[in-house]
């Protein structure tokens, strides 16, 4: 997790992602802590608009069992 730097561009805008999909687990994993919590935008640098969309996507993924609510992500099983 990089330390806070002021006035940096939002990583989601930079990557040109228009629709934050709750199925896009690889992307969402970048914005949750190792305990499964949503990383605050003052750490990740995500813009307010995108942070809100991200939060909804992460919560949807949690409901569908794609992301954990708490604790470390379990190792993948075959």
């Amino acid at each position: 997790m990089p330390k806070n730097k002021y006035n940096r561009a939002c990583p989601i805008t930079k990557m040109d992602i228009k629709h934050i999909d709750y199925k896009n687990i690889q992307l969402l994993l970048k914005f949750i802590s190792r305990h499964g919590k949503i990383v605050p935008k003052y750490y990740s640098g995500v813009s307010l608009v995108n942070q809100k969309k991200l939060a909804v996507a992460i919560k949807r993924a949690r409901q569908m069992g794609l992301l954990p609510y708490t604790s470390k992500p379990r190792r993948k099983r075959a």
Partner: protein, 135 residues
């Protein structure tokens, strides 16, 4: 009624036989088409481990249906899904018009290096400092 794009993710209970699972998928398709929904894409993820235990299950059969439908129809579809025993969980999401469908492999294999350019920045900053130290 104008139609909108929707996406329906369904999780089927893991203790069903293959025939029962197929039967449930067929039922979901029927629910959608009975409400004048037109399925334009279907993505079967298959058995997948949950990130946490839900109601004593730790995996489920994932299937995603992309369809054109209307809100009233959706309510009916969700009602019938709730009554269906083999269906463990479901989620309907409305999609933007320019939504690009991606397969599971595309999601899983995608790599996002969100702070790539910042790292190169910090290197560039670190180098002059090292030079100063050398002096």
């Amino acid at each position: 009624m104008s139609k909108r794009k929707y996406e329906l993710m369904v999780i089927i209970k893991p203790d069903m036989t293959q025939k029962q699972t197929e039967g449930e998928l067929k039922k979901v398709r029927e629910f959608i088409s009975s409400q004048q929904g037109e399925i334009f894409h279907e993505d079967l993820w298959g058995m997948r481990a949950f990130a946490y235990k839900m109601k004593k299950y730790d995996s489920g059969y994932y299937a995603i249906f992309y369809f054109n439908g209307d809100p009233q129809g959706n309510r009916e579809i969700e009602r019938s899904l709730r009554l269906e025993n083999g269906i463990f969980r479901f989620l309907t999401v409305s999609l933007p018009d320019d939504y690009e469908i991606k397969t599971l492999d595309e999601f899983e294999s995608a790599e996002y290096d969100i702070y790539a350019d910042e790292r190169s920045d910090s290197k560039a900053k670190a180098e002059p400092k090292a030079k100063k130290a050398a002096k």
